[in-house]
């Protein structure tokens, strides 16, 4: 049988031809999975709320000021992350490093604020189903913010050391995408934890 050459790929880019490298798809898969987890948490919250006589059981709605500030901070950190990504697209290593570092710092502030907030919760997860689901969602998201902070800290270190270039930026792409996901995931949780009780009780 004759073997003929049909395609020669020797000239093709060994870097990610269209930013849609396998790893980009991989992180999309992870985000899809985690989105389903977020959705399932939301459904569980609503299911428990729907069958409860009063929600929350104490009738007291949780304070809304600090969570709103956190939401703002998270969205802001997404924006700085976006700027960082744009920077490396232009090949600007400095913008990347500064942007990622800023985002990490912003998210660290969020973590501190969230820690204070969690410590101030008036109920424990042991008290009732409401307490359990609120704590579970809070800790779930807290852990995610922690993981993007430590993960992006590593990216920031590499960025300062000049590892990333315009071509070699899949690590940044993956990191920013996951960062957006974690920040956006806070929106449904925010609405559920802080607005649903208000609408439900009110």
């Amino acid at each position: 049988m004759r073997v003929l050459e049909a395609v020669d790929v020797s000239g093709m880019s060994r870097f990610n031809p269209d930013r849609r490298a396998p790893l980009w798809w991989g992180i999309l898969g992870l985000i899809t999975i985690e989105s389903a987890v977020v959705l399932t948490f939301c459904v569980s919250y609503l299911y428990l709320a729907a069958y409860a006589e009063t929600w929350p059981p104490t009738g007291k709605v949780p304070p809304i000021l600090w969570p709103s500030i956190n939401l703002g901070l998270l969205l802001l950190s997404s924006f700085t992350m976006y700027l960082a990504g744009q920077g490396i697209n232009r090949g600007d290593k400095r913008v990347l490093a500064i942007g990622v570092t800023t985002s990490v710092l912003l998210a660290t502030v969020v973590l501190v604020l969230r820690s204070l907030e969690l410590m101030a919760y008036e109920f424990s997860w042991k008290d009732h189903a409401y307490g359990s689901i609120v704590w579970a969602i809070s800790v779930f998201h807290y852990v995610h913010v922690t993981s993007i902070v430590v993960g992006s800290a590593v990216v920031a270190i590499l960025a300062w050391r000049g590892y990333f270039t315009r071509e070699r930026q899949i690590g940044v792409v993956v990191d920013t995408n996951y960062w957006y996901f974690v920040c956006i995931a806070w929106i449904p949780f925010y609405l559920l934890l802080y607005w649903v009780p208000r609408l439900y009780v009110g």
Binding site: M1, L4, A6, D8, V9, M12, S132, L158, Y163
Partner: protein, 636 residues
Amino acid sequence: MTLHKAAEQRDIIDSPEETAHLARTWYSPRGFPGWFTQVNQRMIGKRFIITAFIFFLLAGILGLLMRLQLAAPEQQLLGPELYNQFFTMHGTVMMFFFAIPVMEGVAIYIVPLMVGTRDMAFPRLNAFGYYVYLIGGIVLFGSLLLGMAPNAGWFNYVPLAGKLYSPGYGVDVWTTMITFIEVSALTAAVELIVTILRMRAPGMSLNRMPLFVWAALVMSFMIVFAMPAVIVSSTLLILDRLVDTQFFIVESGGEPLLWQHLFWYFGHPEVYIILVPALGMISTIIITFTGRPIFGYTALVLSVVAIGFVSFGLWVHHMFTTGLPQLGMSFFTAASAMIAIPSGVQIFCWIASLWGAKIRFHTPMLWVLGFFAIFVIGGLTGVMVASIPFDTQVHDTFFVVAHFHYVLIGGAVFPLIGAVYYWWPKIIGRMMNETAGKWSFWLAFIGFNITFFPMHQLGLEGMPRRIYTYADEMGWGDLNMLATIGALVLAVGFGITLVNAIWSVSRGRPAGTNPWNAPTLEWATESPPASYNFRHIPVVESRWPLWDWQRQDERRVVTGLRNDRREVVLTSVLDASPVGVQVLPGPSIWPFASAVAASTGFIGIIFHPIFFVIGFFLVFFSLVAWFWPRRPWRND
């Protein structure tokens, strides 16, 4: 679309030195250290398959022991404690540690070969998934040996599975091991999706993709969307058990039904996750043994996709007796009955393809024909239990046991064994014995029906599931004895295949490249394939590339991949035109280290929540080590 980018077609003659170099580049380390560093997709796939079959054997033995206990009334072989552990383990292992991993394993082995590439998209993640699976399985069986196996059923309903009614570590082991299998299944699913979408051979547009690859793709998407529900539910349960949350505690506003919704939202698609790849195997085998293109390629693809979608809308039919509102449940009756249509389309497309064809009745084909007889019965009883009033009579009886064994063994295990006979020559390089294969099939087929058909009647005569004994007066003794005899015959049937497989590894007839004259790409390379799978990535021009090549006596390939590192071609999602080259990583210890780190955390939290934090940081550090770029940073 033109693939003829090279100015003029030239013949390719490979020098042995280049081939040897390529083989070295893709070489998997051997020996004991190699066990923990291999990442090649065929190694991982083979391990998945072998491990899963070992678990199948063990869980099958548990099933046999349960059948012996039930063979006659008031037997003393197993007490209630042991029996409850056994059926929990049997269900859990068969569903989570055999069915899903073995289907994934076959997909991991076969899909890259079928789409004509050299490895999967994330080889190290692949290895990680396997180690997690292996550790999970070992711990689960370890718990059985230590007498602290889970005993609340594979469905693990609360409040029975709660701390109050299931003290001890059994249910903790269950929830934790489920997490292991979730992680493993999800990594494999993402892996398969990306490999199938981005790494197909140039020219293999979506409408030329082999049907098994379609099935693997649908299966992977189903895993991605179904597994998160059980991730959340098992997390909620383990929180209830370990840190006293109140998700399922009625007195504190918890909802036991939430568990059932979440579990079956996963649990029903789970059945189809197992079934869908089996459908792909059947199509593949039918094409090969009829020796002609299958009828209704598009219809088959669409019905597999439809089955995938509809399966997410059926979960409530596991909950018809829980007292939910009748009207709401009726929707699920309709949806459950409607799944008969895509199934019907599949079956009659196959019958149309078989019609009048010159069929070669080799062992794989026999197992597929056995599938027809069994699966039709299982499907019909499935439609029956979709009826709410009828289900209230047979739910949780042996009728249902019969039904789902017909669906799962008939629908998944028979095609799977057929697929093992079919792909064995490719994987091992030697044929299995045909005579033994046929004996195995007939014994398993007859044994299967003797085992499970009487159970329909037992269920209608009022025998509930999950009982360790029954009184003589109930009159269930004869049929149970019959079923037990059948189970022994079935075991002998499967046992012959086991012996046949082991025998063939050293004694089987050498297979050659394409012993069945099959049309798909995995048969284009030697058996077993070399470390690089394909000397040259093939270029595909139809659904049946090998038959094309035979007819034309020539074939086209990709050139330009380097020999000194692991390079594969990336192609576009829809029409698979080449868009770039990806460099894949080689062997590494870090996937294993990460799996051990993750296991430390998961297993540790059974004993103390602090292990969550420890596990988190251990995994973090091992992941950093895994991904940390090695100096010198390459500039190309």
